[in-house]
């Protein structure tokens, strides 16, 4: 899936690339003699994240977004397929090399209150990656921590305070400082604002945007808020039950969503002037009804969305959904996009 250059990012150099990536987790056996079953958290995903772009991964909880992101960081081993970072394959068994590669990667978690030790001082929380990875002297570590803390809008005087003394938004700033301190170029932002108040979202997202521009970072931005994704991301992938159903240039996908699931997600965005929720009809037509969960049975063919899809056809029971190009920067897995 080669795309042509339109914006400032380098379209020829994917920083992260997955090739037919599959990750599955074993389920607990019901009895010692039954056959082991698996959850296919990520199945056959091939994406490219280019240097300097903000790539968004969108989907409901349980669709495998976090597993896919963790696979690009070498946190989980692929069952099949491969992950490349900077052109080099991530080999989860080569611990030494993986540790070196991980110096250029970081992750920002959803809930800052539970991803940092509340009894650490800000200095210790931020400097932790430096202390673990590199043999630097204490002075240099502290000055780097101070620099990182200032770059996220806190003051160096805050370094001696405890993490738990700060508000949620400020704690997320500290988490961002921790991700920046070691000079990582690839940062996974796993729902960085969903644990925060709506009024704080803008501050954190603007901060992430500014930092990316200043430092030329690459983001994998995980979110289920489509309105924010549209403002934030250059390209995106919509994920449903472990598969990518729509992929490509963010503006093109929003201007012309091709997959019914993408449209469902767009429809579920609440607006201020949308009026009261249509109570009865919403439930009965049930376009997006029932919570989705990844089937543990082996894939039996057919479109996975078919039970929730408002445009379902008979053929959907048996078709094989592959990403097909709408144009050279927009791909969809619904074969019926042309007929609509």
């Amino acid at each position: 899936m080669k795309a042509n250059s339109t914006s400032n990012m380098d379209r020829h150099a994917p920083l992260v690339k997955t090739n037919g990536l599959c990750v599955r987790f074993p389920l607990k056996k019901e009895s010692p003699f039954s056959k082991r079953r698996y959850v296919n958290a990520v199945s056959n995903v091939s994406i490219e994240i280019f240097k300097g772009e903000a790539f968004a991964l969108v989907g409901e909880s349980g669709c495998g977004k976090t597993t896919l992101a963790d696979a690009t960081l070498g946190f989980v081993a692929p069952t099949a397929g491969e992950v490349f970072f900077n052109g080099e394959k991530l080999d989860i068994r080569n611990k030494k090399r993986l540790r070196q590669q991980r110096r250029s990667m970081q992750k920002i978690f959803q809930d800052p209150a539970s991803s940092m030790n509340p009894r650490f001082t800000v200095a210790r929380a931020v400097a932790e990656p430096l202390m673990i990875r590199m043999e630097l002297d204490e002075k240099l570590i502290l000055s780097k921590a101070a620099e990182a803390v200032e770059s996220v809008g806190l003051s160096a005087g805050d370094l001696d305070r405890l993490v738990s003394e700060f508000s949620g938004g400020q704690q997320q700033r500290i988490a961002i400082a921790r991700a920046l301190v070691s000079g990582a170029e690839y940062i996974v932002c796993d729902e960085p604002v969903s644990a925060l108040d709506v009024s704080v979202h803008a501050q954190i997202l603007n901060l992430l945007m500014d930092i990316r521009r200043e430092r030329g970072l690459t983001y994998l931005f995980i979110s289920h808020n489509l309105a924010s994704v549209r403002k934030f991301a250059d390209r995106l992938a919509i994920m449903y039950l472990g598969r990518i159903v729509e992929y490509g240039d963010a503006e093109k996908v929003f201007a012309n969503p091709m997959h019914p699931y993408t449209r469902m997600l767009i429809d579920s965005v609440l607006s201020l002037d949308g009026g009261k929720i249509a109570s009865a009809s919403q439930l009965q037509t049930g376009a997006v009804d029932a919570d989705a969960s990844i089937p543990d049975a082996p894939f039996d063919g057919g479109c996975l969305l078919r039970n929730r899809c408002p445009l379902k056809k008979k053929e959907c029971e048996s078709i094989e959904c592959r990403l097909e190009p709408v144009d050279d920067e927009h791909f969809t897995a619904c074969p019926y996009y042309k007929t609509r």
Partner: protein, 325 residues
């Protein structure tokens, strides 16, 4: 006629750093079948208000004062804890944000639902079970007989929230307080749960007090909206009136913070600054330090909550109001 009304509610918590005045004089009144929403940032006192409404605050650690506190024309301000137990879950109930911690993890959801019917209606377990299964069906849970036996961890987030809603509506109370009922949920599930809540509320004519920090959630549910800031109501009006004609700068800021789907790529609009320290609140208007339109006078005196026409109340002098005292 209002189902629930509270006048001049004040809540203060003594702390080692000083007194935290979480709520400083709030009036609320909700009619039958009406949905009133309370919006504001975390720390503005909205959850404390919701707990005080059902007298759920621990009075050994805080001071609660009201001029009037009525539920169905009964004065509940003087009621004992024992009398309140007869009210909660029967005449007024609550839906909490985090369903996983609101439910008992070692008891099946059906058994927990049974308790509502056994406690409040004195039913036997078998009769209660039939009612519980009916209640699960009414909140759109498929195969309720099987789900009756499920434990909370075996259900998805949306399903758990539905169970809580079933529980709240089980005794057909006059008032339901929903404290951030969808914050922990995905956008797709959020819309379903809100639609369900709205449907049940309309069918039963329940008065609903909805608490949220997200104005877009509130707009899809509420008849009237009260915007809260630093322990006070700064603006209150009917939903459409408030959205089409916001008068307080804080309300405008909250509206801008909701990202619209048709916004192009670029920076997000943000409200500068953060809530004032509850121990050292600024003199004068509490929004003064963050306000772009403030005059010097705003830093000295608190504006009054005044009617700007169309039952639209606002606490801001720059939109034509007067100062207190």
């Amino acid at each position: 006629m209002s189902v629930f009304s509270i006048k001049n509610l004040k809540v203060a918590f003594p702390t080692p750093r000083g007194i935290v005045r979480a709520v400083e004089g709030i009036d609320l009144s909700i009619g039958a079948g009406e949905c009133l929403a309370l919006v504001g940032e975390s720390g503005c006192g909205k959850s404390v208000t919701s707990l005080a409404a059902l007298k759920l605050l621990d009075t050994s650690s805080c001071i609660v004062r009201t001029d009037e506190h009525l539920l169905l024309d009964e004065d509940i301000s003087k009621m004992s804890e024992r009398e309140m137990e007869g009210i909660r879950g029967r005449k007024a109930s609550m839906i909490f944000q985090d369903a996983l911690s609101a439910l008992n993890p070692v008891m099946s959801v059906g058994k927990q639902l049974d308790e509502v019917f056994m406690l409040h209606f004195g039913l036997k377990r078998r009769e209660a079970k039939a009612r519980s299964i009916e209640a699960l069906r009414s909140v759109g849970i498929e195969d309720p007989e099987a789900r009756y036996k499920a434990f909370p961890h075996e259900l998805s987030g949306g399903m758990r929230q539905r169970v809580l809603i079933a529980m709240a509506f089980a005794s057909n109370p006059a008032l339901i307080i929903a404290d951030e009922p969808t914050t922990a949920l995905d956008v797709t599930v959020q819309k379903q749960v809100l639609a369900l809540l709205s449907k049940l509320q309309a069918e039963n004519g329940t008065a609903l007090l909805l608490i949220s920090h997200d104005l877009s959630v509130v707009c899809s549910m509420a008849d009237r909206i009260a915007v809260m800031y630093s322990g006070r109501i700064v603006e209150c009006a009917e939903t459409w009136e408030l959205i089409s004609n916001p008068l307080h700068p804080y309300t405008k800021g909250l509206m801008d913070a909701v990202v619209r789907l048709d916004e192009p790529k670029g920076r997000f609009t943000q409200i500068p600054g953060s809530l004032p320290d509850p121990v050292n609140k600024p003199k004068g208007c509490c929004f003064f330090p963050r306000c772009a339109h403030a005059s010097n006078k705003c830093g000295e005196a608190m504006p009054r909550l005044e009617n700007a026409g169309n039952a639209h109340f606002v606490r801001c002098c720059m939109s034509g109001g007067a100062y207190e005292g």
